[in-house]
Amino acid sequence: MTVAAKSSSPPARKRPFWTMERRDSLAGYLFIAPQMIGITVFVLIPLGLVFWYSLHEWNVLAQTFRFQGLGNYQTLLSDPGLPQVLGATAIFSVGLVIFNMGLALLLAVLLDQKLKGITLYRTLFFSPVVVSLVAWTIVWGFLLQNNGGINALLATFGIEGPNWLRHPTTAMISVIVVQVFKNVGLNMVLFLAALQGVPRELYEAARVDGTPAFKQFTRITLPMISPTVLLTSIITIVGSLQVFAQIAVLTQGGPGMSTTVLVYYLYQQAFQFHKFGYGATLSILLFVVVAVLTFIQWQMRRKLVFYEN
């Protein structure tokens, strides 16, 4: 009996540790290691530090660093300037997204035509993207001043232009326009690439059916490029929430606080008013806003984005 049992179950072979599967896993970890180390050192640790700073009162000049728990967050909730700042941020973001994406899509559709010299037009509209942001903004600052180029141009048509950067409404519009013209080329190129990927036979079929051009755009073009629309909307919204240089150069947050957006307010509190702890709290708020908006957009993709597969 014993002998039979022994012969029926031969001694189990020890599985070698260094299997192909483990080797592949190790190779994978090694490949992602540089990126993971980079993210840890330059993203996760700073993010943790910002949160840690937000729990402190940090007076740089006096060299004091005192733990105060959620004190900065309470200040955030009762900050009288914050509603105005969040309002300006929302107006800027909405304005930028509508103008930027609308204009980028329009330009992409126009530049998707077979025209003579089309490459030149594409280059022309894309060129501001590669120009230095500060230099671009300084030039626009000169153009937009009361005795500047834009009003001089309007004056040749007998129109008295407004003092663009000195009125709350026109100041915000000016900042948005400067930003739109700076970056519209990037979204335009992405839309152009997406448009060129739409199967032409769909349009041919629609034409045979007698579908009008606008309906072709809404029923074929938009659904087919909707993944790109999602991508560009995420990039544009996140970018709009991080605008700084244009505000610093053009308006310094004014007139009043009409163009004081969240990042500029954060900069003022931390670096100008030396309230580093409160500045860190505002940056946590910015992080949360960006994360929530991106999450919502990502969730909306199921309803709004069309994938062929």
């Binding site: 005795n147 000195r166 947050g253 007139p255 606080m257 670096f271 580093f276």
Partner: protein, 422 residues
């Protein structure tokens, strides 16, 4: 045999390492590298500072001083960011508006004892008035190396072409006051040129308007800094005067207009005398003059801008930094600094000394504008937490720079906003 060799090697290594371990740090300690932040990148300024630093290095072998030029617009922001990042300089220029923050925070090292003990320093030559901003509880925390009065540069060509009297003529007639000064500006503006510019104001840096409103004997807050006086009658009158000059007579360029006196486009500019270097030469030159600020309803007055140099108390070389500051501000080096930065030392405050280093200005201009200005001048308004007060008041004052503004209502709202910060 092998063990013997190993022992020998270990002994030899120890023999080499011990002296290095003992003297290495000592050598490192002897070398001191001081860093000072400044807001000028002017080559002539840097050459002068380097020359003074070389003189100090000769007296202190192993000590070097380097000057770190930071942009003026973001100077204090960059400086505090360096401090926050643990990279504070050993010494720094400090603006008068932020003096209270730096002096009262305890960030700066005390200077009085070292200055008093430095042979030939003559601390009593540096007037009490000049150092008032830089003291706390009787202790000096920064040296006021530049005390520069505000004055008016005048373009006589534009004024005479417009048919107006020049400021020099009005001074001679004893009629140099703000009403007449703004009339000149309005007359020139009527010809299509520009009238009066408050340089660097740009409808943002409102504290520079002190060069006008002090003529009405007013300031944004009380002397002890606890009460807002923006809405007082004198300030309302002064601001109404400025508002009318902008929006009624056009004597001052309006908000959003970029005009430069030194290109010959305006009749007058209020600025500090160090801007004389911007005056155009050769074919572009015009007939210019430098005159004191006009008298206001409250009489004659003068306003000065001041910059101090302090040594930070948090560094590794605090004593050496303070010693360098004592050397930099001794009588001999103060005379060198005077060619660019009007001095705080009484013995150097005369037209003769200043004339050797300011060849563009006549002895009369130096006496009437520089010496008198420094002697009688009051520093621009400053306050603890000034950056935030400045910003909040700036935002409120934006409502004033509209043609239909209610001056008193706007100034009352400025007070409502800044009072909790005073």
């Amino acid at each position: 045999m092998h063990t013997k060799m190993l022992l020998k090697s270990a002994t030899a290594l120890t023999g080499l390492a011990l002296p290095l371990a003992t003297f290495g740090p000592a050598l490192a300690q002897d070398q001191v590298d001081l860093r000072m932040t400044i807001w000028s990148a002017n080559e002539a300024h840097l050459a002068m500072f380097n020359e003074i630093a070389d003189g100090f290095a000769e007296l202190h072998p192993g000590v070097t001083v380097t000057f770190d030029s930071l942009p003026f617009d973001s100077y204090t922001t960059t400086l505090t960011t360096q401090i926050a990042g643990g990279n504070a300089p050993d010494l720094a220029w400090i603006l008068e508006t932020t003096a209270a923050d730096f002096v009262n925070s305890g960030a700066l090292a005390p200077l009085t004892e070292t200055f008093a003990a430095t042979e030939g320093y003559e601390l009593e030559d540096v007037t009490e008035q000049a150092t008032a901003l830089w003291r706390a509880d009787g202790e000096l925390y920064a040296y006021p190396f530049s005390t520069s009065p505000f004055a008016l540069f005048v373009n006589n060509d534009l004024i005479t072409e417009a048919g107006a009297q020049t400021p020099a003529e009005l001074i001679a007639a004893g009629e140099w006051n703000w009403d007449n000064a703004i009339d000149i500006a309005a007359t020139v503006a009527d010809t299509g040129a520009n009238g009066l510019i408050v340089r660097d104001f740009n409808y943002q840096i409102w504290q520079n308007l002190a060069s006008i409103w002090r003529g009405w004997g007013t300031d944004p807050w009380s002397e002890d800094g606890t009460t807002c006086t923006f809405a007082d009658a004198e300030m309302v009158d002064a601001m109404s005067f400025i508002h009318a000059a902008i929006f009624e007579t056009g004597a001052m360029p309006g908000p959003g207009e970029n005009v430069d006196f030194f290109t010959g486009d305006a009749a007058m500019t209020i600025t500090q005398i160090s801007r004389a270097s911007l005056l155009p030469q050769g074919d572009e030159a015009f007939d210019w003059d430098l005159v004191p600020l006009p008298s206001g309803p409250a009489g004659n007055y003068s306003v000065i801008g001041q910059a101090g140099i302090g040594a930070f108390g948090m560094g590794d070389n605090v004593d050496m930094a303070v010693e360098f500051l004592a050397y930099l501000s001794n009588p001999e080096n103060s005379a060198k600094l005077a060619q660019f930065f009007p001095p705080a030392r009484q013995s150097l405050l005369n037209a003769e000394t200043l004339g050797t280093t300011n060849p563009l200005l006549s002895p009369q201009q130096l006496e009437n504008v520089v010496v008198a200005g420094i002697t009688n001048g009051v520093v621009l308004p400053g306050h603890a937490g000034f950056a935030e007060i400045q910003q909040v008041a700036r935002a409120e004052l934006d409502a004033l720079w509209q043609a239909d503004a209610d001056v008193e209502a706007v100034l009352t709202s400025v007070c409502n906003r800044i009072t909790p910060m005073l």
